[in-house]
Symmetry: C2
Subunit: 769 residues, 2 copies
């Protein structure tokens, strides 16, 4: 079926296009990305170069080239392959193209192209390619490039490594060593700032032709082979390549290891490697996939997002962040934001909790960065970086956007005023504990983080003696258009929640882990007095309450006094379409127009507000929200589901799931490139179904459901893991069916409205509505 103009699916497991469109180059490069959490390789043609945004982004290669942005590096492109037929270059935007199909197989993470090319001399070449980023060995990308000709022809096949790659903010490599090692090609690079070695080794096998010779070409930052042979009609030539990539942050001798891995990989055929990778993906989908009946478009869009959430996530490591744009490009510095815990993590938490654990351990390993940031800004404890790379030190520059009218840089305060990142992490830690029951994690990691975050919050807060309450002053909430606000409801509620959990942990450890608690308190020099302080603060922290009459929660102090207007009205006030809407002088600053869900996002995290309150606030804030962030539509979808706005929930679901698929967001704002895959929205896709339509909540160790299905949908069907037990959930318009896996050990209570139902291992319960 056609999803949109020139975008198709057949089964809901793939997306592909039937025509090549040059102007979609940036988008398709991101959308057709393959990856495995270690590297991401953009969906580009084999003969493309830096000009077409070819990139292979590798984790853990943070380096600064322009003195301003530290970002991940793009490795030299080891898949580079160029075909000439009778001296004529076979390429997608020259010649006559037919039988074109290009796209991504989501089920196994496979990118493929197929097309027939007709040149000026009349010969026709049929090309098929496929590649995937291996989950079996994360350092490998196997690639198959095959072709046939209609008439006999002289073939020149150039394949090797092209070191001229796209780089967003300057040249990262101060050195390119072009090497031929044994039968392999390699480029050894060294980054300019930090001296990281990033090496690519390439090997190949050729079937269906015997080149007259192999000529090695070394050009500027390129090492290539030229293979020449005569090809008869009907003979299929198959080039199978594998590239292997290692950096000196992975291993001491990256070049050696890359070569070893490559040698081993080349002992298997592409098909054998692909089968192994396929099995890995099938396992992922078995634990993660959500099946939707009755909506192939929604189904495909959903899987596209789950796919990208997976490949963005360095699940193999507990020391690497999920980039806000994953590994689809260098934008946002390959760094984690609050997106990681609040948007990306929940899918893993309920399906692959070991990955959620790694995500949180990353925050543990970056605790010193957070401590350093807190100290630098005059606070105690842990103030997590707004933009967090390897070490957790703040990567967010103070000057993020620029004023496109004056050309002056803008001092945004994402890094110093947007404090909710810290309690957001505390929230996720507790969420992890709630869902996994992994108390050891809390004892060994979570307690230290939550204590240090509480300490930070205490040192940040101000006490108003005349009002007998703690307040948070000078904040940025999730809605980034309003900087310098006080008592942002979202932040204050998150802070209180954090302090309460700190006290819970302290009390439980005092009972159950006395020694560990003593050790920890000594380690971080935590005093009983501080625990008392947190208790007082948890009690006296100011929480903006729903107004008695209107039920509205004010987003921050004074928000309702701002000009009440709408996003489309502000659009008209722009002097330049590229203007940043926010701080300090953008069109939204003095108005109630919000960039994204803020109070509504609060409802997503805290199940303590009545439906009436949620509805009143939804009705108020929704028309005032610009959705200038990809994090916004999902929150509206989830809350719309919960207040019975089911069709609106669906339309926000589609909006959120198609941000990248339909390329609806702008790639540049305030002069800064912000394109690529919006991984937060990808993670949110799962939440919109499970937290939104299925209405899943953890409620006193019960799995509570509150399902509603959009009119289109006949059924949703998804797996869940809760405290080492696995379940399958099927929701239709008339019933909820939960099956407890045979392997489960515990009986689980399921709540639907006021009814609790017990479900034993291997059993299935059906709750009719």
């Amino acid at each position: 079926m056609e999803l949109k103009n020139n975008l198709y699916t057949e089964t809901g497991w793939e997306i592909f296009e039937r025509e090549y469109e040059d102007e979609q180059m940036v988008t398709t490069g991101s959308n057709y990305l393959i990856g495995n959490g270690y590297l991401g390789y953009r969906g580009t043609f084999a003969d493309w170069t830096a000009n077409e945004y070819v990139a292979c982004i590798v984790t853990d290669t943070y380096d600064m080239a322009d003195g301003k942005w530290r970002e991940l590096c793009n490795a030299p492109n080891g898949l580079y392959t160029r075909l000439e037929v009778d001296g004529e270059r076979v390429t997608i935007n020259k010649g006559e193209i037919s039988n074109y199909r290009r796209g991504l197989n989501l089920r196994e993470g496979l990118y493929s192209e197929e097309f027939t090319w007709k040149g000026n001399k009349g010969n026709k070449v049929h090309i098929e390619t496929a590649r995937f980023a291996s989950y079996h060995n994360l350092h490998l990308i196997p690639f198959r490039y095959s072709f046939t000709v209609e008439k006999e022809a002289e073939i020149t096949l150039v394949t090797g490594i092209d070191g001229v790659v796209w780089s967003l903010n300057g040249e990262h490599f101060k050195k390119y060593d072009l090497k031929k090692i044994d039968k392999y090609l390699a480029i050894e690079t060294v980054t300019g700032e930090r001296g990281i070695q990033l090496d690519v080794v390439e090997g190949y096998r050729l079937d269906g032709a015997t080149p007259r010779f192999e000529k090695i070409i070394k050009e500027d930052r390129k090492i290539l082979r030229e293979l020449k042979f005569k090809l008869s009609p009907g003979t299929r030539v198959v080039l199978e390549k594998v590239i292997s990539i290692y950096s000196s942050n992975d291993i001491k001798n990256p070049l050696d290891q890359a070569q070893k891995d490559l040698e081993k990989a080349l002992q298997s055929t592409f098909t054998e490697l692909r089968e192994k990778n396929r099995a890995n993906w099938i396992n992922f989908w078995n634990r993660t996939d959500i099946k939707i009946k009755g909506d192939l478009k929604g189904q495909t869009a959903l899987r596209f997002n789950l796919y990208h959430n997976r490949i963005a996530t360095p699940a193999h490591s507990d020391r690497l962040p999920i980039g806000a744009r994953g590994l689809s490009c260098q934008a946002y510095q390959g760094a984690a934001f609050w997106d990681q815990e609040i948007f990306n993590m929940p899918m893993f938490l309920y399906t692959s909790p070991e990955t959620a654990c790694n995500i949180l351990k990353y925050r543990y390993h970056t605790l010193d960065g957070a401590r350093k940031k807190a100290r630098k800004l005059g606070y105690r404890g842990a103030f997590y970086a707004w933009v967090s790379g390897k070490t957790g030190e703040e990567l967010c520059p103070s000057y993020f956007f620029k004023d496109v009218i004056s050309g002056r840089k803008i001092h945004n305060h994402f890094n110093d005023w947007q404090i909710h990142i810290s309690p957001d992490i505390a929230y996720a830690i507790w969420h992890y504990f709630q869902v996994t029951g992994d108390w050891n994690f809390i004892v060994n990691y979570g307690a230290e983080m939550i204590f240090e975050i509480s300490r930070f919050l205490y040192s940040h807060a101000y006490f108003k003696k005349d009002k007998n309450r703690f307040e948070f002053i000078r904040l940025l909430g999730p809605d980034e258009y309003h900087e310098n606000v006080d008592n942002n409801a979202f932040t204050n509620y998150q802070a209180k929640y954090t302090l309460e959990r700190a006290l819970d942990i302290y009390n439980k450890m005092k009972d159950e882990n006395k020694k560990e608690l003593e050790y920890l308190m000594e380690k971080i020099e935590l005093t009983e007095k501080e625990i008392e302080d947190w208790k007082e603060m948890a009690e006296l922290i100011y929480l903006p309450q729903p107004d008695e009459e209107t039920l509205l929660i004010e987003q921050f102090d004074g928000y309702f006094d701002l000009e009440d207007t709408r996003p489309d009205e502000l659009e008209k006030r722009l002097l330049d379409p590229g203007e940043y809407w926010g701080w300090p002088n953008g069109v939204a600053v003095e108005t109630q127009v919000t960039k994204q869900a803020d109070v509504i996002q609060l409802f997503c995290l805290h199940n303590i507000f009545s439906k009436g309150v949620m509805k009143a606030n939804y009705d108020y804030y929704e028309p005032r929200t610009q959705h200038g962030s990809s994090l916004s539509p999902s929150a509206y979808s989830i809350i719309a589901s919960q207040i019975g706005y089911v069709e609106e929930a669906y339309s926000y679901f589609i909006k959120s799931c198609t941000i990248d698929l339909y390329n609806t967001n702008k790639a540049v704002s305030g002069g800064t490139f912000i394109g690529g895959i919006h991984t937060a929205a990808c993670g949110a896709a799962w939440q919109m179904v499970v937290f939104g339509f299925a209405g899943l909540k953890i409620d006193n160790d019960n799995l509570s459901f509150n399902p509603v299905l959009p009119s289109k949908w006949d059924e949703i069907n998804f797996p869940l893991q809760y405290k080492n037990n696995r379940f399958n959930v099927v929701i239709t318009k008339s019933q909820l069916k939960v099956k407890s896996s045979e392997e489960n050990k515990e009986t689980q209570k399921i709540r639907y409205k006021d009814d609790l139902t017990e479900i034993r291992p291997g059993d299935e319960v059906i709750i009719p509505f």
Copy 2:
């Protein structure tokens, strides 16, 4: 002597020019202003009109014409007089001018012109004019216009009232009634917003000619007389006019009263009226003048400032503010800023304390406006208006400047973040008490103000539990380029001082005025708990201390982390010369460049810092100060005197005293007209000599001196009033001489360094250095 190009004095009691300069029209209009605290009449030619900025600004006529700025109105111009000789208009910028002299006699507040005009037909006319704003009756301006011709000529003299006046922000009058009443002309106007009636009545006497007839001309907003006669050479024609101005805010029937006053005035000659006025001025100078020997330029500039400080001040009323531009134009809305208490008031306090008392009573009568503002912004007590008119309600618009690059308005926070205005008033109240000993004032007025200000401060402050201190967050200090700062040293010290004085007053009243205290506490619902709170806050308020090594006091939290650059460097970064340098995105915001004295201003008010500290801070802040405010140079002069930088003190003295005289400040900033007389600098002129060079301080009821004279000066000589006793102080390079007036009742102690000397009524002491 020539003061600067085309500006002269003879005795130090006058300023005058010898050539007419068209491009100096705006400046000379302000500098040659006559006034009496009720009205100000700009220094313009009699035949000039709105185009030449003719204006007669009248107090207590606040009205809004453009929906944006409420300002004082300009009355119709009753002095309008035009001369034609043989049909040719006699005017300053046509014809050939000789014998020109125009200027101001400071000793008696008299503006005069004299020149000979030669027309195209060869006749010569010699004109002499004089006018003054009467202190005897504040509603009157007497005017004399006399002329002779060289050859016989046909004269047309047109004189009357021209209602077409300059108005900065729109047309204020919705009605102009042109009237002939008896032999007088009148224009009765009514303002559009508030329906204030503002009436001008004019009468005249003519000597030396008998007009053939008097023709009354009523044109649009003008009522004029045409007088025609033939004039022989050598005959002097003298037109003596008086105008009388009343508004309905002065009296119920302004027109009647104006007519009555006028009739009475016309019973005296111009010379008789002038003598009365002169006597009034002589009395003022006897109480106020500072004589400088050895520096006629400095002497003249100083007197120019004392003169303007007087005429700007509505000493006749305890319900009117001193405008930041006095009555020289409508800029700054004829409203009071902190300038009034900190810059204008001290001269009066030590010379005419009854005027200082009226200034402070104005703040008492506007207490409700301050209470209203505090409530509106979520505070308690009294938050005085940044821009304070009649009622004390906030006149300062939220959008004061505009971004000249984008054309967008700027939301400045002068009105809500610049809280130091309130403790500044408290400071002045206590200063008044210290100097006058007028405890009744404290009991009846001061206590209520200081209590309400303390209450405001308490409700504004935040307590940092982790630091056990009160802080002030999100401020604007005196340096307005840095908005949104925390713990501005100036503000925090002023706040602590206020709370301490509140406690002093409470304790003294508890002892001495128990009933009044009870009454007051009941009236303002003040509790003992609040007194306790203030005590705690006074103890625990955070005061930025001099750094132990550098001795520097940080202007606000984080100031030293800002880019360290200089004003001239920032000048180069301007994209447009008219750009506002401050909030939110101006060139100074992210730098240490300050608009004006801030820490240095703190030293002017609080005599608690060592010379070493003052010196270190002076050396640091001085090169970083742009002096973008006319309030700035005087603070530097005063502190320079105290730390022994005497010649630098002198050069800042000259800079401050000549802001208007030499027209050094720009008249438009960020798109807003801010020209006119800088009355704060006028008041500061007195302080630079008495607090700066003479080093006067009140120190435990002692008059303490620490004199230094600039090398040019041989002697300064000035009167002082302290607690109902009057003194004369003479300082030379080698001695301090203080004489106690014969009429004094008390013995006074004089301190010089560590020595205390008693001086009895009628005695004189000489302290050699």
